[in-house]
Amino acid sequence: MENNLHVSSSPHIRAETNTRDIMLDVIIALVPASVMGVYFFGYRALLVILVTVLAAVLAEYLAAIVLKRKQTIGDLSAVVTGLLLALNFPPSIPFWIAIVGAFIAIMLVKQLFGGIGQNFMNPALAARVILLISWPVQMTRWVWPDGVSSATPLVILKRGLMAQAPGYLDLFLGNVAGCIGETSAAALLIGGIYLVVKKVIGMETPLAFIGTVGLFTWIFAGGSLFTGDFLYHILAGGLILGAFFMATDYSTTPVTRRGKIIFGIGCGILASVIRLYTDYPEGVSFAIILMNVATQLIDRFTVPRSFGGEKNAA
């Protein structure tokens, strides 16, 4: 019997939460935004979500076979990537583009760099940006279920057509043109708060990101300084989706508290600059993947001092 005693390093017990539980929490947190997307944009939005998620899982499954890795579809991370990607698509996107996007996200951005935890850019966002550059027309065509197309709140703002701008309540609830999952600030906030309460994410990044965009647009977006409509900028576009669900991605953002704040502020400045001073109406995706690239650098300079210890020489 004694030969059967198992020996290993302490600790000998583990908390219950595993990677799959965390991914499941993210999926749960995205349900309200998905439901609102389907409610406003119709059954086609639901089909886009299903197709993209299935394609992402299939890509993950095939990648494991091709790369001779352990099968990881069970950890649900591919479902999260697929869902986030789908929520960043316009409801009218051709299915083949959605499928190509899912394969780019999983195969190219995630698996070729080593799989879960190793990718240096958010897979869903990197794929979205590649699609946006490759098929700009299909990626920015906003059509309602009744076939009427319209401009997103940020495009309206960019063109200076403020008479057509939706009210704050429509922006908050999500009854505006835009990507499937980005329009309903209310639904995204419910999901975001769920993640904070479940301690899946911290408040640092979302607050720093949204706060910076608010401050920046308040100062610079108006006709004169300090007159910008910051609330419109916060509620319109993909800011809340990005701040709570993309800028908090574990693999591609800093680990330390200070690092997260720096990351959030950097995202906020970049997103605001792109929105206000470039031809693109929206800059959240670009901002986050640009900051993703800076994550290693931020991590290197934010190593905390140990308890009672001296400041670290970087």
């Binding site: 005693l5 290993s8 302490s10 000998h12 017990i13 583990r14 905390p304």
Partner: protein, 448 residues
């Protein structure tokens, strides 16, 4: 709302204090005891007895010339059966004395209450008692109580936090031997000259808190403070910070911030020793875990084999998968039931496969839970990577040596990465590199 002072980080662990209301039972004298010559941090002792020699209870059987060491006594009367090198429960080879007990428990003539009239005599008595830190670290008590002159000690902290799951041996000491504890505190404060005493205890032990508060009420300078129940509240640095707001810097000792920390069972022992002069030859041990038939608190003679202890507790109800000496967070897994109870053993846990099996490791997702859980503010995910690829620069950069090995990181890791194991590997790599650098340096000196 009143917020209890605490440290940042840490984890909420299940309490499993199943044995808190179980009275301590004495295990009888075993047929033989196995007594390693190192049961403390510091230099190992050399055996002072020979094979075949008769010994009595309380007789010194091992001493060391080194300052940081503690003498070792026989826990039985009988005959020395064997002296050999054995694998010590923490994995090292240590000289070990095996004594066949005669069951008579004749007490050695040197065992008598010590005469203490001043600090020097008190320190000498504590040294002769063989006392080491009974909280689990095993640091020789006489060294701790005798800091260099330039250290100005103003506070004595009594560690009764007992933050590890399952363990209730300190709690039973409070409930059963509170008078000894108070006598011990009196002696330490009187001879060491510390006027301020704080007893720190987690707030999941209300009965012990009210008992200690009642006893402390009549005394000047003894403060009983309830602490937030959060692991590792009983880790020395965390405890000192929670009670005094002082931070012990990495590589420094409590004495460097004016504090002496003693485990509550240790002070209880001091109180008893001053009365009866019996050295440290027995220890209260919590026996629990999913494979144990009758979870108990037992008083075992030092050197009692684990198999004897588990037999006393009704044996195993299922096949034990893992045996742990100490708590589930920091305890050491044992490979044999022939290992002995040692001075600082506070718990013996036996887990079946369902409870004791750690789920398989998956890839790090950089979630940062290890960093958030670390009470000393390290980044275990980076140390893990650095240790596995032997990146020495990164090991230094991420303060590997400052790790207190509390286990919070690995406990909270959703990918079940054995982070403490790789941090220990990292520490070993650093120590090896330092030893090599020292050797190269001395060779260079010889050449030039």
């Amino acid at each position: 709302m009143f917020v209890k002072k605490s440290f940042s980080g840490g984890v909420e662990v299940p309490h499993f204090k199943n044995t808190e209301n179980i009275q301590t039972e004495k295990i009888g004298v075993p047929d033989e005891v196995i007594i390693p010559m190192q049961q403390h941090s510091g230099a190992p002792c050399k055996p002072t007895v020979k094979e075949g020699e008769p010994v009595k209870v309380g007789q010194v059987i091992g001493i060391s010339e080194s300052f940081i060491s503690a003498p070792i006594h026989s826990s039985v009367s009988g005959t020395v059966a064997d002296i050999s090198s054995m694998i010590f429960p923490d994995g090292r080879y240590v000289a070990t004395v095996v004594i066949k007990a005669d069951g008579k428990q004749d007490i050695h003539e040197d065992v008598k209450p010590p005469i203490c009239t001043n600090k020097e005599e008190f320190i000498e008595a504590v040294k002769n008692s063989g006392l080491v830190g009974l909280g689990g670290a095993g640091f020789p008590a006489h060294v701790k109580l005798n800091p260099p002159k330039d250290k100005n000690i103003d506070t004595l902290i009594i560690n009764a936090a007992e933050c590890e799951p399952f363990i209730t041996s300190d709690y039973r000491e409070i409930m059963e031997n509170s008078a000894d504890i108070m006598d011990g505190i009196d002696a330490v404060t009187k001879f060491i000259g510390v006027s301020n005493v704080i007893i720190g205890i987690e707030d999941n032990k209300p009965e012990a808190i009210s008992l200690l508060k009642k006893l402390a009420a009549g005394k000047k300078g003894i403060d009983v403070k309830a602490l937030r129940t959060r692991y590792p509240q009983g880790a020395e640095k965390m405890l000192i910070y929670a009670l005094t707001g002082r931070k012990v810097p990495p590589g420094k000792l409590p004495m460097d911030v004016g504090v002496i920390v003693m485990n509550i069972t240790s002070v209880g022992f001091v109180g008893r020793y001053l009365k009866d002069g019996m050295p440290l030859i027995k220890k209260r041990v919590t026996v629990d875990g999913s494979a144990v038939n009758r979870p108990s608190n037992v008083e075992a003679l030092i050197g009692t084999k684990l198999s004897d202890v588990f037999d006393f507790c009704g044996g195993f109800k299922t096949e034990p998968f893992k045996i742990i000496m100490g708590g589930p967070m920091m305890g050491i897994a044992q490979y044999t039931l022939d290992a002995p109870v040692m001075k600082y053993t506070n718990a013996l846990l036996a887990f079946d496969k369902t409870f004791g099996n750690v789920p398989p490791e998956t890839a790090c997702i950089r979630c940062g839970r290890c960093y958030r859980a670390c009470p000393v503010n390290l980044m275990p995910l980076h140390i893990n990577r650095a240790a596995l690829v032997e990146d020495m620069d990164a090991l230094h950069k991420y303060h590997t040596m400052d790790c207190i090995e509390c286990g919070c990181c690995a406990y909270s890791c959703p990918a079940r990465i054995p982070l403490v194991q790789s941090i220990r590997l990292g520490k070993t790599l650093i120590k090896k590199a330092q030893a090599k650098a020292k050797k190269d340096e001395s060779q260079k000196d010889v050449k030039s």
